[in-house]
Amino acid sequence: MELHGITKRFPGVVANKDIAITVRKGTVHALIGENGAGKSTLMKILYGMQKPDEGTIAIDGEQVSFSSPGDAIARGIGMVHQHFMLADNLTVLENVVLGGEKLYGIGAKARRKIQEISDAYGLGVRPDALVEDLGVADRQRVEILKVLYRGAKILILDEPTAVLVPQEVDALFDNLRELKAEGLTVIFISHKLGEVLKVADDITVIRRGTTVGTADPKTATTKQLAELMVGSELPSPETRESTVTDVAMLKVEGLTLTESGAAAAAPLTTAAPPDPSGTVSLQEIGAGRKLLDDVSLTIHKGEILGIAGVEGNGQTELIEALMGMATPDAGVITLDGEDISKVSVRKRREGGIGYIPEDRHRHGLLLEAPLWENRILGHVTEAPNSRRGILDPKAARQDTERIVREYDVRTPGIDVTAASLSGGNQQKLIVGREMSHHPKFLIAAHPTRGVDVGAQAQIWDAIRDARREGLAVLLISADLDELIGLSDTLRVMYRGKLVADADPATITPEQLGSAMTGAATGRLEGGDERPEQPEQSEDGDAR
């Protein structure tokens, strides 16, 4: 397959500029590049979702032009999108057959076929489950099944590993190798360069919309790739000097949250533990399933406590319970010596909790409101945003300008809507906003997810700086490198319980990953070298 001279312009942005890529049949071809480099756009063009302004696509030497994904599918192209393309309220079967009903109908024949493919590749997919009941990894597998079901010969995988734990990534790669062996061509996009080197046969690097080079995975190193990508070294989240004090800032004791009417009433409470085996045990179906099970932890001033866990194991609920958005059934939360268990969200925020939400669009921003109003969000009762119930737009605007300056938010002004900023800049605005109120305790959920490498470094810096000044941080991240690098203490969450803890200095992502699937509990010992650990208190104030 050959792409030639592809150019795609969006209003104000050239997403792709004269791109040329050749993909050999039967190989895994990796595509890398920083945020907004234009990878997804290119793939959407290849998949017929967007039309190129210029350029040609040739498959097996034959020139093609797609006006819709339907055309691409007909030519044997399948795509797994960066953002899941699944309808939650439909079953797996319905999601899979959608658009391809002519192949095997929508009934028994289709179900048999799905089962067949699922068995052949060990995907373990249940055709009649509702998609909303599936965990992330399961959804990923459904996406792949969708493509295989259509008999695709060319597979496009756009950042398929972003939300998977290492074990799941390995399983996915096994599948990819199998597919390759059957003669399928795979195009693979990822920000995780190690993975790329592991699985790819060829690598193409894209920067600012154009191809800037290719690399041979047999010889290249991640460092070289990173330099190709951004023209500089990858920043590292490592924090080595410890600022942990022994003043407890946040203390959580016996926090328990059961699924009940509360879960139904609060639409925010969404996540629940997916079962890795893909089956749901019967006891769990009953009411009163514990989303948080006797969670206790202490975070000290100047400490970053990282929580590792497969998504949906209670992290979201923990955050919501700490923020006051969910009402726990039992447990005491103490902030800076004050019991805040029964206090409203607003009071907690006023009391010094900062919040970088895991989903900035849902919980962090008003997308259609201007930046300066977004600066008020969450702190409407605090200075400089308001005085005695009356807003002070002038002061808020001034302070927004300051945040934009200090946190390097790239925007033409503070009157544009939040939606018109790129993800990284939106995130910087949120970080700037939360930091501006000098929180005592910060909840940072996936603070750099999907964020540019440059912005990533800035966000890490901001967190580190505040930590040095005594901020306590609860860090939740799917990026294990970030978690290990940034945290002073690590805990593993599994099915609503804190099942294990680890020392970030010695633990490896693989070990952490296996603990996250529930394979290991208790105190995790790092690496092969197994260094002697100093005596640790129950709260795990390491080093």
């Binding site: 962090g364 109003e373 008020i376």
Partner: protein, 372 residues
Amino acid sequence: MMKFDKDKLIIGAAGPVLALVSSFVLTMLVLLATGLDPIEPIQLMIENAGYSDIQVLIINQTGIYYLAALAVAIGFRMNLFNIGVDGQYRLAAMLSAVVGAAVELPGPLHILLIVLVAALTGAFWAGIAGILKTTRGVSEVVSTIMLNAIATSLIAWLILPKNLGVQPQGSNDLTTGEIAESGWFPGIDMGQGNGEIYGFTFVALALGVVYWFVLNRTRFGFDLRATGESESAAQASGVDAKKMILTSMLISGGLAGLSGMPTLLGDTHTYSLSFPVGVGFTAITIALLGRNNPVGILFAALLFAFLDKASSSLDVEGYPKEITQIMQGIIVIAVVVSYELVRRYGTRRQQQKVGEELAAGGAIKTDKEVSA
């Protein structure tokens, strides 16, 4: 604070102009298609609007629509669809008329009492929908539709002479009795039998200012708007969504209750079977047309009042009055479609600007690196 922006001004004007032109053209086409003179009705209406007595009617109706539309709009700002404004308005007018007729107080107090009862009644009736939504999850769309009908029955029962109503001697109407003159809201007499402008119209306008201030300048308003724009984000920011739903439903109902006051305090001084109905439904259209913005709603209310009143003599001239309604429908569609077209153009421009300015910051460096 706001920079003067020529682009913005042109874009802002383009919407209404496009809308008005296209709706007039479409209306003319309808008239032509049915073999009528396409120009004369419009001419007649404009001529009509030049007369003082019609102007008074237009202004008074604007005030009524304005209040009711504010009631709808405050719900919309929160993504609450209060279809029940009409029921709240009627029930409030009725009960406040009963109270007003029953007591006699010094002027301002009397009026204040009536207004208070109206606001509280409206709020109470809307509050039922609010409570059903927050405690039982009943969709406010359904509950307010039902409550409208229930209000009709309740009023019909309450206004029976054996309950709270009166049947004046020799009349086939049922009323709530006349409010004493101390409870009449003074208006501005326009002389020569042109009628008087209801004093409450100015209260309506003042409430528009309050609406703007509360929504844009208070914490509460910010929370309300935030909830409307993104419930999840608002909740994370510390807004108690349930409380917010209930509060805004109460405010909406209170405003709905007030929308009966211009008529009650300025004109009829009693609630009767022929008290105007349907105000709450027209208000939905007006709020949507005015995009829930206090100034926008004012213009929309004025437009609808104009269409209503200026068309009053069309039938005498031999043109079916329904033209007005067709015009209203066409105008609503034309306005929103042209706003949408203009908006699309505007967003494209905004993005272009963002892109250009970002490119200006990074493009040179990139090019160098690529060529290197």
